[in-house]
């Protein structure tokens, strides 16, 4: 239990939305941009996305090829470790299950390293990106995903803190062992479950 702060009542947030994990606030119509690198300009004519590592069939898709796969939509909330959440969003793209079904993970695959076109990386257990819990998305709320928000396409893993949803996604590399990604090497939690407040290493 934390100490009371003199004079603080939190009057702005009396009605707490049950969709907000502990320590999070509703950012409303805002969508803050938080990245660590220059924003890349990726031309969809040259864009690609691939699945590699411990798979039977390493595969790459072009922009047109990935759009030809069955589309899938996520409707729900996203949670950033810096404590904002954005509620009731709609993302459209392709389910990670769909691309994995084509690449066919080997039985030894247990973790994923998501790699961006910028070199950004983030690690996840394979179980966190399967069974309808992760997507490669290119539309948000009916519009093209803005480049500052990871367009033309980003990974979406909405049940984990949003740094796991790698912007400008290039590939998913399936691994036998967990390998820390960019923020995970820089003090952030390896799994990042917002409902357990797994913000930093050691939480």
């Amino acid at each position: 239990m934390s100490k009371f702060t003199r004079g603080f009542t939190g009057r702005l947030h009396r009605e707490r939305d049950v969709r907000l994990p502990p320590g999070q606030y509703d950012t409303g119509s805002n969508w803050p941009v938080l990245t660590a690198e220059p924003t890349p300009r990726l031309d969809t004519a040259q864009w690609w996305f691939g699945v590699e590592g411990l798979v039977e069939q390493p595969t790459r898709w072009s922009w047109d090829e990935i759009h030809a796969l069955p589309q899938s939509t996520y409707e729900g909330d996203i949670h950033c470790v810096t404590s904002w959440s954005k509620l009731g969003m709609t993302f459209t793209g392709v389910s990670v299950d769909t691309v994995l079904a084509i690449a066919k993970p080997l039985p030894s695959a247990a973790f994923v390293l998501a790699i961006s076109h910028t070199g950004y990386t983030t690690n996840l257990p394979l179980a966190d990106v399967t069974n309808g819990r992760a997507w490669i998305v290119w539309d948000v709320d009916g519009q093209r995903l803005p480049v500052d928000q990871g367009g033309p396409a980003r990974l979406l893993v909405p049940h984990l803190y949003f740094w796991k949803s790698a912007k400008w996604i290039a590939s998913l590399r399936l691994l036998e062992h967990d390998e820390s990604g960019f923020w995970e090497r820089n003090g952030y939690h390896d799994r990042g479950d917002p409902w357990l407040e797994q913000r930093y290493q050691g939480d």
Partner: protein, 238 residues
């Protein structure tokens, strides 16, 4: 690549000083219960707790360089919709206790030993000020070039402390009588070419500022791998 920082736990700090920087920002000097050594550029999370247990927390960059004292400074811009920043600016007084956790971050940090270009916009100058202060404290100002972009002289933090041979202030709307540059946004004339091998550019500010600054840097020969960015939106760091 920096190494994993240890997990940090919540601790209590006492406000030992408050200094007004501008009409919209104050600097808070906090004395930590358990002193901790931070690296210039790192941030802490400050948590406020209401009597009914409701909490609000936000991240704030450290403005001070590590100086061997158990004290840290944070400069906080008051954002009208910012639950934490309005409380800090409007309610907190010397002697109050605040909970905080940190230091956090192993990427937007400068150890003080390599050439660095610091490009800050508005309140984005705060983590860069920690770097500039470190350079001056250790006698390594030669490693640093700092370019701070603000709307007008009234919006400039650390105004008395900033001037120095390594520092340039760019005013975008209204210049100070002492400057010769006409007010206006950052242009390529304001950006030094990347001359030193191993130099890193640290860019902090709004999305608009950081996008403009990184484009200018890349136009001046800086590679994407030489540039570290910290961005915030109106609510990202409030």
């Amino acid at each position: 690549m920096a190494t994993r920082s240890p997990a940090t736990s919540w601790q209590t700090a006492t406000v030992v000083g408050i200094h007004r920087e501008t009409d919209r920002a104050k600097t808070f000097r906090l004395r930590l219960e358990r002193p901790t050594l931070h690296v210039a550029g790192q941030h802490f999370v400050i948590r406020l707790t209401a009597p009914d247990g409701y909490t609000a927390m936000r991240s704030f960059s450290v403005a001070s360089a590590p100086d061997g004292t158990p004290e840290l400074e944070f400069t906080v811009e008051r954002l009208d919709e910012g639950e934490v920043s309005t409380f800090l600016n409007d309610v907190v007084e010397p002697g109050d206790e605040l909970e905080l956790r940190g230091p956090i971050g192993g990427w937007f940090v400068w150890e003080g030993t390599t050439p660095a270009l610091l490009l800050g916009g508005g309140s984005g100058v705060v983590p860069l000020m920690a770097m500039l202060r470190l350079a001056r404290r250790t006698g390594r100002s030669d490693l640093v070039r700092a370019i701070f972009s603000v709307r007008s002289p009234a919006d400039l933090y650390y105004a008395a402390e900033l001037p120095g041979p390594e520092t340039t202030v760019v005013f975008t709307r209204e210049a100070s009588p002492a400057t010769t540059r006409s007010p206006g946004r950052l242009t390529k004339e304001d950006i030094p070419v990347r001359s030193a091998a191993g130099a890193t550019a640290y860019v902090c500010g709004s999305t608009g500022f950081t996008n403009t600054a990184t484009d200018l840097l890349m136009g001046a020969g800086w590679g994407a791998q030489d540039i570290r960015v910290e961005r915030f939106g109106p609510t990202g760091t409030c």
